[in-house]
Point group: C2
Amino acid sequence: VLRVSSPAVYVGPAADREIADAVRAGGGTVVASPADADAIVWRGGPEQADELAQALSPRVRWVQLHSAGIERWLATGLVDDGRVWTSAAGAYSEVVAEHALTLVLAGLRRLHEAARSTSWDASLHGRSLRGATVAVVGAGGIGRALISMLAPLRARAVAVTRSGRRVPGAAESIANDRLAEVWPRADVVVLAAPATAETRHLLDAAALAALPSHAWVVNVARGSLVDTDALVRALAHGSIAGAALDVTEPEPLPDDHPLWREPRALITPHTANPPGAMEAALAERVRENVARFRDGRELLGVVELARGY
Amino acid sequence: VLRVSSPAVYVGPAADREIADAVRAGGGTVVASPADADAIVWRGGPEQADELAQALSPRVRWVQLHSAGIERWLATGLVDDGRVWTSAAGAYSEVVAEHALTLVLAGLRRLHEAARSTSWDASLHGRSLRGATVAVVGAGGIGRALISMLAPLRARAVAVTRSGRRVPGAAESIANDRLAEVWPRADVVVLAAPATAETRHLLDAAALAALPSHAWVVNVARGSLVDTDALVRALAHGSIAGAALDVTEPEPLPDDHPLWREPRALITPHTANPPGAMEAALAERVRENVARFRDGRELLGVVELARGY
């Protein structure tokens, strides 16, 4: 067990006031040189791996990285050094879930149309999320956070996972091989599953055809989960009410893409985790992990090489 | 105490399937003639008061109206007849609060700009509500429902009421004579107070000047709470980040009003309580009140003539 009662922490590659404050809030002290550090919080990317390698003095026992995914860090070979490494996995889930909720509500309430409107049209009213069935595809950190946000809005969450395991807060939990049963009764579909071979084009022409005509599709996962051409057709024909997408395929969406001219579409440019929120969430994670390091409790986001994340 | 163990309910002026289902779900039976009714659920407005007057057979002991405000019903003189009358007061609060939340999130996340955008601009990222201070002016049904919706988003609600009484779920509760202390630290202001002489132009030029430049203003109450001319100037100068308004002064907002051309504004045409949601909320209220009538419990929304609502 790692435990350093008054941990000395180096923040690199450059000083960062918010992170330094978080280190102190967690009970650590910020040191000016990595040679004096028990731990390093590294704000740089894998392209600065050499710089980090130089900072890894023998005293350093724990390294906190700032990204949630670390595939590119694993490729540097640096992580396999016997120290404890932590990623920010899970730290940004709630911020992304908040964006998903924003897109769900904006779609149902027709804010995309209101934003484009230049006159008072009382017929431009949307629908309430109250009592609506929201299929949340993927129940990792983002999906679970979204389900908790739906509770006071009295929406009915159907959690869809690989295993169909029971997801806390969901009215129903089902396995993704039964998705065909979910589409016809989904008022809203939120895609929050990882991009894998299995989830590629999970929302395809058949799925879109099975959705009710008032349904909204929200994607905060990866563009590959949606068959974009099929979606463009479904929107043009009005076979669903709309799509709010923070991620697309292709991404970025080119200027001449039909989705830019589709009145039923609302696109945000992969901004579910905006820079300011990312900083704040990382600071929160650093504070928590420094406190855990000090108390000898298990750190959050420990990288396990065998799993690859 | 009113108590009818198996209440016969007439729904008028026309049959309504959703309301009839609600009557049955509450333990009542739906009768075809008001002469056989213990209670009436009336979907008509005060302009149909004569029709209702005819339906009020001696057996009828309770009348449920469908509107939340009943000023115009009181003017008909019909309500003062010794029967129990109930309005739908409070039934629509959660639906309106949901719209307020939608506008808050849409503003912070810059969805109004995303909706108007026709190309991928990664710099078009907004902010998270997480950790933000939301001043909720008015803590009636709408304000309290909004505060409960903010909790899982980890925003910090400051409830502002006339008395400053402690509001459940709010991080702070303060009296509206101390609003000047709230403006400088409000990331978002949500207006959810009734329109009275006291709240008229509550958000005026001085209040707008005291808000941080990143602040958003959301109004789901009444247009009169905001000095519209001062708001137009504040938006034009960028002294606040934006305003999302479901109600305006004047209302409807005329076609040539500068707010239609203001990039920092998002207008919805008084649709916080959209027709479909209104139906569902009324049905829920009818079900609940029929069950209470059957059990001899106090009905929700009993009109008290002395108070005028």
